[in-house]
Amino acid sequence: MGVTCVSQMPVAEGKSVQQTVELLTRKLEMLGAEKQGTFCVDCETYHTAASTLGSQGQAGKLMYVMHNSEYPLSCFALFENGPWLIADTNFDVLMVKLKGFFQSAKASKIETRGTRYQYCDFLVKVGTVTMGPSARGISVEVEYGPCVVASDCWSLLLEFLQSFLGSHTPGAPAVFGNRHDAVYGPADTMIQYMELFNKIRKQQQVPVAGIR
């Protein structure tokens, strides 16, 4: 497990999501990256049930239950800006039992699927973010395996990102700044995905509504 940076790649002008992904993967292959199967990250939203809200007198908090194909036996549960936990995949069954407290938001499932590339010690995953049937955006995840401290290798990661994202290179993810010198963990990646999905959800709501 190394330091990971998840970012969004804007769709190229006059191109579809699919075409932009192809453009990106071709660039990676030109760089010398090797294809290594596929990956999938999915996220489901739960909100606290109305029955429990009143008694505690607090606003409904959203909880996200996520899976990552990189950790096939784990399930991640995260509150926005809040605590998170990593559990076994059985956690999904538990959530069904907890229906009284957490209710699944309808049609909220968002996921990204795509190809996994290896280049030296870098792991690059370019995915198409879909919500329901429609493609909503492109996610780019870059992991640098050897390093475990985010602040140590950010400049190095940035140089690599620049080599194939060009002007769309992102800034440092917020999780990098949280704990200086701390060992980077899988949950940090999932927080980044959660933030990315939230961003894409908000982005897309406006234009989609406008078209309709």
């Binding site: 030296c120 010690d121 050897p146 475990v148 401290v149 190095l156 010198d181």
Partner: protein, 311 residues
């Protein structure tokens, strides 16, 4: 010169001695002639015997006289050859025709030259024995069986001393933690953890470093049965590269007389990898080259370079 002169003084005695030897030889041959001829015809048997005995006695007396004379002369001649440093060959200096046969001067030069050669060879062999290039006594192979092998002192240091040296180094570098263990007898194995960057397994023989393996901070350094895994290499290319460079450093830092300095220099060099992911290449200024950060650290300046950027 004194030798030559004394030999000159004795030359007369030599000449006399030689003539004395000739006299002795002739008198001895006369004795045998007399014996060979036997008794000459005389009138009576008695007369024959008498004449023969008198003749034989005369001859023996003369041999005796000549022998005494030679002994006297030989004392006079003395032993000039033993006084000369070149022994008998020193007599070559007596040769009057120097120009035609300059044997003596050539001989002297050769003698001086071989003396010097022997002296320098002795010095060189002393030095070479100190700076033995053999890191391990096992490599001596066949020759070790023939001659009694002198174990290099650095290979038989007491474990306590090794522990001391290592713990001193451990205290020297706060960002570096060294864990020493001896799973196989007296040879120490070190697990060096450098910040949150990498882990190094160092296999020692006394205070010599035999092998190093560099792995990532998050990688496993133990085998399933809990022993240090000194064989498998890192999964990451960058640490495989650093392992190669560390092996190069082992061969570079060599000082058989002061093994503790070698270990300290190696650890100082290794410590520069704390900035493995943070330091750009000093030549090209970039972080990545072929997907690898600058993995080389200069032995003297400890500056970071890409493998292909160093010269």
């Amino acid at each position: 010169m004194a030798d030559v002169l004394s030999v000159g003084v004795n030359l007369e005695a030599f000449a006399q001695a030689i003539s004395a030897i000739q006299a002795l030889r002739s008198s001895v041959s006369r004795v045998f002639d007399c014996l060979k001829d036997g008794m000459r015809n005389k009138e009576t048997l008695e007369g024959r015997e008498k004449a023969f005995i008198a003749h034989f006695q005369d001859n023996l007396h003369s041999v005796n006289r000549d022998l005494n004379e030679l002994e006297r002369l030989s004392n006079l001649v003395g032993k000039p050859s033993e006084n000369h440093p070149l022994h008998n060959s020193g007599l070559l200096s007596l040769d009057p025709v120097q120009d035609k046969t300059p044997l003596y001067s050539q001989l002297l030069q050769a003698y001086k030259w071989s003396n010097k050669l022997q002296y320098h060879a002795g010095l060189a062999s002393g030095l070479l024995n100190q700076q033995s290039l053999k890191r391990s006594a096992n490599q001596m192979g066949v020759s070790a069986k023939r001659r009694p092998k002198a174990q290099p002192t650095t290979l038989v240091l007491p474990p306590q001393y090794v522990d001391d040296v290592i713990s001193r180094i451990d205290r020297m570098f706060p960002e570096m933690s060294i864990h020493l263990s001896r799973p196989n007898g007296t040879s120490a194995m070190l697990l060096v953890t450098l910040g949150k960057v990498l882990k190094v397994i160092v296999v020692m023989r006394s205070l010599f470093i035999d092998r190093t393996i560099v792995r990532g901070y998050s990688e496993n350094v133990y085998t399933e049965d809990g022993k240090l895994d000194i064989w498998s290499k890192s999964n990451y290319q960058v640490f495989q590269k650093v392992t190669d460079h560390a092996t190069t450093a082992l061969l570079h830092y060599q000082l058989p007389q002061m093994p503790d300095v070698v270990v300290r220099s190696f650890m100082t060099w290794l410590r520069s990898y704390i900035k493995l992911f943070q330091a750009p290449c000093q030549r090209c200024g970039k972080f990545l080259q072929d997907g690898l950060p600058p993995t080389w650290r200069d032995f003297r300046t400890l500056e970071a370079f890409h493998d292909t950027c160093r010269q």
